[in-house]
Symmetry: C2
Subunit: 449 residues, 2 copies
């Protein structure tokens, strides 16, 4: 669920158009807005209704809108439409976006679609799908502008005019020989400044930096970023041009990789969708799995402490102190990190209420699971009543940590401060103080009541 201004303003209108079968309105909607905006608005609709709206424009335009949706929603869409219609849209998509969609689709579904897709596109898809995930081959597009080196500048401009409509970019033109070996490149800027009678081979730049089709996508994106390129050519092992990666895809990859790293650093399995776009149980799973692993690691600390402070010691609580405090801190860091990254990507749209309610439920859910596990593990070291103090405390601190971790960055943002000031160790420290208070109070209540 996205949440920009567009979304909240236009979605209700669109729903009314759908209810009233306002064909003119829907056609207008598809026509005047930027595909990125259209996609953002329609992400709030069920897939079947999105296809209903899309029916008001031609397949090329539908394809352009389709590739602006986040991948998880694209997957929902392709599963909600008849194959014939889908194949027309897929033919019109740009090769790289098409390949990344089909990479994520059900294999069987892809095989059913293939015969319906025109021959040229089908071959292109097969080729792109054959490259490994996260390689240059998997993210490149095959729609690049290329010309032979032996024609004049004037002739080049004429040919370029014909290539233009179907190329991802024509601002960098690659010069190749008959066997597609990469010989050099020319920027369109340089081309339009060159003497019309000059031969391309004489004006082109021979010092062309390329990447291999098997290179890692992050490396490719970093190259584009470093040299401020509009695109970088991708070659096979024989230096034959097979595709290009463009600046906008490079920027997306770097953003995604940064988001992934940030989430992993906070022990969250990377989300495939935006924070708000990720369903409750997916989010619970991606956080819970690491919280459980970390609880296991903390139980190691409890056992080590048990070695130094054998059973029967007056202070049995010391055994579980690190475990209890870490649980709250870890859950809090996860929330803070997710929110801070979502704020940086402009994904929250200021839905404080929605976020608070979701995090509260999530905290309670994760807290219940961790609490039960902590109770079970605790029973191995101490009597069950003491273990239930541990379990109950873990439940409380995880819930509290989650809600604190999510709300503090939003509060800082509201106050005009940088939300990232609320660092994970800071959340953990705050969580430590409340954790101690909760632990002792639950112990007093259950053991001495």
């Amino acid at each position: 669920m996205p949440s920009s201004l567009y979304y909240s303003l236009l979605l209700p209108d669109l729903r009314i158009m759908l209810d009233e079968h306002d064909d003119t309105g829907m056609a207008e909607f598809c026509k005047v807005l930027h595909p990125a905006v259209i996609a953002e608005v329609m992400e709030g609709l069920e897939p079947a209704r999105t296809w209903e709206v899309l029916g008001h424009c031609d397949p090329a335009h539908q394809a352009e809108i389709l590739q602006n949706f986040p991948l998880p929603y694209q997957i929902e869409l392709v599963e909600a439409v008849e194959r014939e219609r889908l194949s027309r849209v897929i033919e019109e998509m740009s090769p790289d976006d098409r390949a990344s969609l089909m990479r994520r689709m059900d294999r069987e579904h892809v095989e059913q679609l293939m015969p319906l897709i025109a021959q040229a596109e089908r071959a292109d898809i097969r080729k792109l799908l054959s490259y490994p995930d996260d390689s240059a081959g998997a993210i490149m597009t095959t729609e690049y502008a290329s010309l032979p080196g032996d024609i004049t500048v004037a002739e080049a401009l004429n040919r370029l005019r014909m290539q233009a409509p179907s190329r991802e970019t024509i601002y960098v033109i690659y010069i190749t020989d008959d066997e597609r070996h990469l010989q050099g490149f020319l920027s369109l800027r340089k081309l339009i400044q060159a003497r019309p009678t000059a031969i391309l081979a004489d004006v082109m730049d021979r010092d062309v930096l390329s990447v291999r089709v098997s290179d890692d996508q992050e490396f490719v994106a970093n190259q584009i970023q470093k040299y401020d390129f509009i695109a970088i050519p991708v070659v096979d092992q024989h230096n034959r041009l097979v595709g290009i990666v463009t600046h906008d895809d490079a920027a997306d990859i770097l953003q995604e990789e940064a988001t992934e790293d940030t989430q992993m650093l906070a022990a969250v399995q990377p989300l495939e969708d935006s924070y708000l776009g990720t369903p409750f149980f997916t989010l619970a799973h991606k956080r819970g799995i690491w919280l459980v692993i970390l609880l296991g690691a903390s139980s190691l600390t409890a056992h080590v402490l048990n070695y130094f402070e054998p059973d029967g010691s007056a202070n049995w609580m010391i055994l579980f102190m690190p475990l209890v405090l870490a649980s709250g801190g870890n859950a809090g860091s996860q929330s803070a990190t997710l929110i801070i990254r979502a704020l940086a990507l402009d994904e929250t749209g200021g839905n404080v209420g929605t976020i608070a309610w979701r995090e509260l439920r999530l905290g309670a859910f994760l807290g219940a699971i961790l609490g039960l596990l902590a109770f079970g593990g605790g029973s191995l070291l101490v009597p069950w009543l003491r273990a239930s103090v541990v379990g109950l405390t873990v439940f409380c601190v995880v819930t509290l940590g989650t809600i604190t971790g999510s709300m503090l960055p939003l509060a800082l943002k509201k106050l005009g401060a940088d939300p990232a000031l609320m660092s994970n160790p800071m959340i953990a420290s705050l969580s430590d103080v409340t954790g101690v208070v909760v632990f002792y109070n639950i112990a007093r209540w259950l053991l001495f009541a």
Copy 2:
């Protein structure tokens, strides 16, 4: 200190050229390589020697290389050259890079330079410097391509050829009226496909998305990213075009913001330079300041525990358990985060030895400071001998945490795994186990020996 392949291969050669006063070699070096590569190599030289190499090309080329250095090194450079020569180079820099350099320069130095700079550039600098930090105005360039709406496509192409050499990009052309009000835009792709006799106003796109000069840079960068723009126009409050922000700068901003957020999330004051480029004491300061604040927060936990476990209790160590464990975990998370981000930005170059040695010294240094503080704070709660157990333990766990946090991601990388798997909570958990062992052993050794 950068560390790419180029760097290690070419820097020694360059040093030899300098020693042998090989003018032809240095001129060749400046001419054939990409300015980004040249900058990367020369970053390893002292500023005075870099100027010596730069002397082998013209001011325009010097400017291009200069703006490819990271800002901290640019600052070192401008302080190491006579003003007259610097002013020639500054005149040739692109307006946005020039402005961001001068924003960071000593104010007095800027004022001394200004009279030496040509009138047009001087006015441009004054204007760009007048916009607030981190606003669209502060990052835009004033070298955009613009044309009136009443000329023909053929005429437009002719004028564009003349504008081309001095414009940051000519792939998006903005159509303005006599008072520079933004009326629409045309991509060069569309322009070269249009009928030569058509009037620009008839073929241009009127639906132009612009940002305000006061908009936040992160918002601007997100807009460019979202719409896959090559550039976005920046307007003043009267909708007059004042500049553009280009895709490459947007990508840099998003990268920087992601790095900043990641570092802040791990309680590191954002580095202004790369990890290896940041001097030892700067890094110590940026990490130490937060470690001290967090130690303060942890001492709160100790006091709360003291309330529940009053003096004289058999287990005085419980009071300091959270503080001791948190110190190690925090230091470890800082290291892990810095290394993982540096790996993502391709900044480490595999210098495991250098990194290990630096982190070891850093850990010991930070550990000593935190250990002393923990000893001082601990003395308020327990006798000095016990407090010295705390201090010594903090010293050890911070050193250990730092070295573990930095080495584990590098080891994962070496093994072909994702270094970010070693999440901060995981580092903290590992640090907890060793922390407990260290704490009890030091206590036994100092108190019962």
